[in-house]
Symmetry: C2
Subunit: 317 residues, 2 copies
């Protein structure tokens, strides 16, 4: 263990990067009542961040600001070293460029006080690739958010080979402390979890457009008016648990298992071994946590109706 | 053109199949005020359908029933021939088994009055494969719904090589008439559109579980608390249009295009040719229909907040 503080004592966060994600993080931390110190090499960084925070603020106000939260708590600093001064946590959100991230994380590490965790918003690089030249790589972890970071709860946390377990744990705790849903991964997988799922769907969509099988609008409608209405309430596994009727995931895999051999996507499926089948079935039962299929159907139905109404009203509003 | 009726004169629908999808269609048509005649070879078909309709009815009542809608308008018939008597439309929802569907559609076709469109709920077979032994295959089309058919608006409509264009058009009109969102495809693609997208995501999920990279619960959380919150309001293309900041899809493809070469999923991406890039960019601009990135960001933010609230309240409720 190092001399890192407990998550609740952090009052200042440093954000590096003034793009959509960096600005989104700034807005999130400001709304949660933190002082935020931000830096980006772009000459118009302050104007960009102000614009991004202004755009996010109505939504954040609607959600409810923490005590003392204010846009005035943002300081855009002229140097990286000044940004990390007094910060209890650093979030890096630079462009997706490996060499750039390696150098930037090394620079951040060099000026950030010992024991302070530095997290990268990278969408897909492993920390093992990025931390190679840092002096104290043990406090570097991935904290991958989703756009916009001030509204989407998910953050995926994973360390690199040189990351200390305490840093991964600390980052996960801190994100939970600031209202995030955290998935902690025990190994580095390119794209982590959510982006792999999203990327598979996205690549299939690109193939369909490239082949003239569907238009951009048909793809979006297929999701917004189709499976997309189920996913905010029940993920893909629980969704298919219900597609099996009273038999749940077990029946679904036995009935639709053969479709895994069908050319329904350009992605080949894994072999549906007894082990995989059981893992899917047991995972769904764990997640259902005692709720019967009928309970889950009723929950799903209420959620779909509420989601459709919410989207409609948010459009009219 | 045949002697088929206009969609608004239909007052009776025949539903074949008493599984989750068949029962869901029965509930949908009953709620929209139709008389429904249903048949399934299972001896307990009537009990199964009653159970499914009862489970769906609270949601349908909450959504608002059509004038004259009643669960009493369901007649479960002892034979297929009696089910299609007087029906202005037939929806087939048998198990996914090609030989079974071929035979069943041939049987339905043989007893259904001329000019009445017969649609199959198949999740992935092409009508060309299924209609081969029908006497009047020109009125057979695919009308693929999503579970539950009484709540998810999407229906994908596509004909087979022997389907007449009027039948595809009639089915699309009829589904729109009963409140559905229709995507009409001009060619048969295995899995249609939404299932291809969903299946790519699902297969990636199975690979991750099979390899111990993620648990069932992590996969579901990654979607429900991540990209799934965006998809009911903005599909995957429009979502990435916003991920590019002010530069939209064009900037996004130029910035994240290289990630298509990354091993972020087991699915290889297509070549990002200038033609594909332009198709994606133009498709997004068409779909945005004059709304600026700032407009779309504001819409997305309102929608995400409303969706999260809706899901939370529907769980507490």
């Amino acid at each position: 263990m190092s001399d890192h503080s407990t998550v609740s004592t952090v009052d200042t966060v440093a954000c590096v990067g003034a793009g959509v994600i960096g600005g989104g993080w700034v807005a999130h931390f400001l709304a949660r009542g933190f002082r935020v110190r931000a830096w980006d090499p772009a000459p118009d960084a302050a104007a960009k961040l102000t614009r991004l925070v202004d755009a996010a603020w109505p939504a954040l106000t609607e959600l409810g600001l923490a005590d003392g939260a204010s846009k005035d708590n943002l300081t855009v600093t002229p140097t990286l070293a000044e940004a990390v001064e007094g910060a209890g946590f650093v979030q890096e959100s630079a462009p997706e460029d490996l060499a750039l991230k390696q150098k930037l994380l090394t620079d951040i590490d060099a000026v950030t006080p010992a024991g302070v965790v530095i997290a990268s918003s990278t969408s897909g690089y492993g920390m093992s690739e990025m931390q190679i030249s840092a002096t104290t790589p043990e406090r570097l972890a991935v904290g991958h958010p989703f756009n916009p970071p001030y509204l989407i709860p998910l953050v995926e946390v994973v360390g690199g080979t040189l990351t200390a377990p305490w840093a991964v744990e600390w980052a996960a705790d801190f994100y939970r402390h600031v209202g995030k849903t955290v998935i902690t991964m025990d190994r580095e997988v390119p794209g982590f979890i959510a982006n792999r799922l999203q990327e598979a769907l996205w690549r299939e969509a690109l193939h369909m457009v490239a082949n003239g099988e569907a238009t951009v609008e048909q793809i979006d409608t297929a999701i917004t008016d189709g499976p997309g209405l189920r996913w905010p309430a029940q993920g893909p596994c629980l969704t298919f648990h219900l597609a099996g009727g009273e038999g749940g995931m077990a029946h679904m895999l036995d009935h639709f298992g053969p479709s895994l051999k069908s050319p329904w996507t350009r992605l080949d499926a894994p072999e549906l071994t007894p082990e995989l089948r059981d893992a899917m079935v047991e995972g769904c039962l764990d997640e259902a946590d005692g709720r019967s299929i009928a309970d889950l159907v009723a929950e799903r139905d209420r959620a779909i109706i509420a989601v459709q109404r919410a989207v409609r009203e948010s459009r009219d509003g």
